[in-house]
């Protein structure tokens, strides 16, 4: 058991922390704390990627760590902060579905993801394969966050968190995607975010609220 190198122990720890943050986001009511959690998730993802770069001697993973840090810890949280201030939803508190129930469903999702990842992880021969289950679980949890939220901003944060999970999955199974793909994905996320921002303002102008339920009115005519 002690044969596992220290770097990999840290990798496991980071993966576990990512899962914990995914759960914390699932149960968070305030938009502001949600953004802070998202930034933390990005930071831990950065550490995790840098750690796996060191562990596997893959220099290009360092670039993706830097990219992750810049986009997900600096730019996106800053943009989100600006967005919620301009939309005036800084202190927005959302009434969720019953939180303990959400958590229990989340646990079921994690068990499902772990079981799903087990046979896949056995096919992969990278030393990071154990984290695949965790990556899959955080993707599913982010999905669930998008489903259970009614306000638009938390849904977008769920979408961005989902991308974090995918990134972890990519690094854990394949030692990272080619640089072109990573740059493309990062740009896609940024562009997607801008489109979301524009949508938000449109939604608010039309419905005077960011509550997605109001969109059901559109069906009636």
């Amino acid at each position: 058991m002690t044969a596992i190198p220290l770097a990999q122990q840290f990798l496991n720890l980071f993966a576990a922390l990512l899962l914990l943050i995914a759960f914390a986001m699932l149960s968070q009511r305030r938009v502001l704390s949600l953004i802070r959690l998202f930034a933390w998730q990005g930071a831990i993802l950065t550490l995790s990627i840098a750690d796996s770069a060191w562990l596997t001697h893959q220099p290009h993973l360092y670039y993706s760590a830097v990219l992750t840090f810049v986009i997900k810890v600096l730019i996106l949280p800053w943009l989100l902060h600006r967005l919620i201030r301009r939309l005036n939803v800084v202190w927005d508190v959302e009434t969720l579905l019953n939180i303990p129930t959400t958590m229990l469903v989340g646990i079921v999702l994690v068990v499902f993801a772990f079981n799903l990842a087990l046979p896949i992880a056995q096919l992969s021969n990278t030393i990071l394969r154990n984290t695949l289950g965790i990556a899959l679980a955080s993707v599913l949890l982010s999905f669930m966050m998008m489903i259970t939220r009614r306000k638009a901003v938390p849904q977008v944060i769920g979408f961005l968190a989902l991308e974090n999970g995918l990134f972890l999955a990519a690094t854990s199974t394949t030692y990272g995607m080619p640089m072109v793909v990573e740059l493309g994905v990062a740009l896609d996320v940024l562009v997607g975010f801008f489109i979301f921002g524009i949508f938000f303002f449109q939604i608010r102008e039309t419905f005077d609220s960011l509550d997605i339920r109001h969109m059901e009115k559109l069906k009636e005519d």
Binding site: M1, T2, I4, L6, Q9, F10, N12, L13, A15, A16, L17, L19, L20, F23, S27, I99, P100, M103, L104, G106, I107, V110, V111, F114, N130, T131, G133, I134
Partner: protein
């Protein structure tokens, strides 16, 4: 060898019994300092206990024998728990008597008696407190069991002594699962001992009280025993936490030369834990009662995550 092991057990049991009020006093004193008060000193719980033992017992007219037996049962259960937890030394003669699951059972037994006794006299506060206590503890118990399961599957044994021995003799190793269950255990500790996010141990008459509401009807030596048992419970929980998550510096039974070092380590750990507990209580605000299920749900979640991560990552 047998005799020296017994002597070790005796030393640890006496130490725990006598130290419990002191620990309570230390936590209160730290809290007083943090709130810019002078505090009553660390010996205050002893003074309270002596005073209560000298006072006469006043019983309600409708009190049944259950009401009178409960303080003794409670004290017995808590003394047993505190004795069985390896605090200074592992591999004590009594350690084989109870594994972690039975330990949870003993705690549950004490709780059931206390709740029944609270409802026995029929005052409004008593039954209110009992119901609240049950609400909190039925959520805390599975979390506690999950924490124990994680520790047990890490060391392939449910015996506390073996768990501690295995965890002490590992090298430096990061266990994400242990970190998670440590946080879960801390949350359970706060809830089960009526500490601040869940209950306020300082109030005696407040509509939100839980533990104090249950023991409002007790007087004299009964109350003294209950207070003492409360101190023992806190010490047992803290000792459990230390044994599972910071077992360093513990000695094995029969090794007299290592005893002073182990005692010193134990006292230092207690001082730090007490100060930390006081800090935590000062920094956090008491939660609404209906937020408590959420809090305990979080503890359960962490504990379950810990065991899942243990199975996935093997750490």
């Amino acid at each position: 060898m047998k005799a020296s092991a017994l002597a070790f057990q005796l030393v640890q049991s006496l130490l725990v019994l006598l130290l419990a009020p002191l620990f309570l006093g230390w936590v209160d004193q730290c809290r007083a300092w943090l709130q810019n008060r002078r505090g009553a000193g660390v010996w205050q719980p002893y003074r309270t206990l002596v005073k209560l033992f000298y006072k006469e017992v006043v019983l309600a007219h409708d009190a049944s024998p259950l009401f009178r037996v409960t303080p003794y049962v409670l004290f017995g259960c808590m003394a047993l728990t505190a004795t069985l937890v390896p605090m200074v030394a592992t591999d004590l003669p009594l350690a084989g008597a109870v594994d972690v699951i039975a330990l949870v059972g003993i705690l549950a037994l004490a709780r059931v008696f206390l709740a029944l006794a609270a409802m026995d006299v029929g005052t409004a506060f008593g039954s209110l407190g009992a119901r609240r206590e049950m609400l909190v503890s039925f959520l805390a118990e599975p979390a506690l069991l999950m924490v124990f399961f994680t520790a047990a599957s890490l060391s392939a044994s449910t015996s506390l002594s073996t768990i501690v021995t295995v965890l002490t003799h590992r090298g430096f190793f990061l266990y994400p699962s242990l970190a998670f269950s440590g946080v879960a255990f801390l949350m359970v500790l706060l809830a089960e001992n009526g500490r601040i996010p869940v209950d306020n141990p300082e109030t005696h008459l407040e509509l939100t009280m839980i533990h104090e509401a249950m023991i409002l009807e007790y007087t004299g030596r009964h109350l003294a025993l209950i207070e003492w048992a409360q101190g023992l419970k806190l010490l047992a929980y803290v000792g459990l936490g230390l044994a599972l998550f910071f077992p360093f510096g513990m000695t094995e039974s029969g090794d007299w030369w290592a005893l002073p070092g182990a005692l010193l380590a134990f006292i230092l750990k207690l001082i730090f834990m007490g100060a930390g507990l006081a800090l935590l209580e000062t920094l956090s605000a008491k939660q609404r009662l209906f937020r408590v299920p959420e809090f305990m749900g979080g503890a359960f979640l962490l504990a379950v995550l810990a065991i899942l991560i243990h199975y996935l990552l093997g750490a």
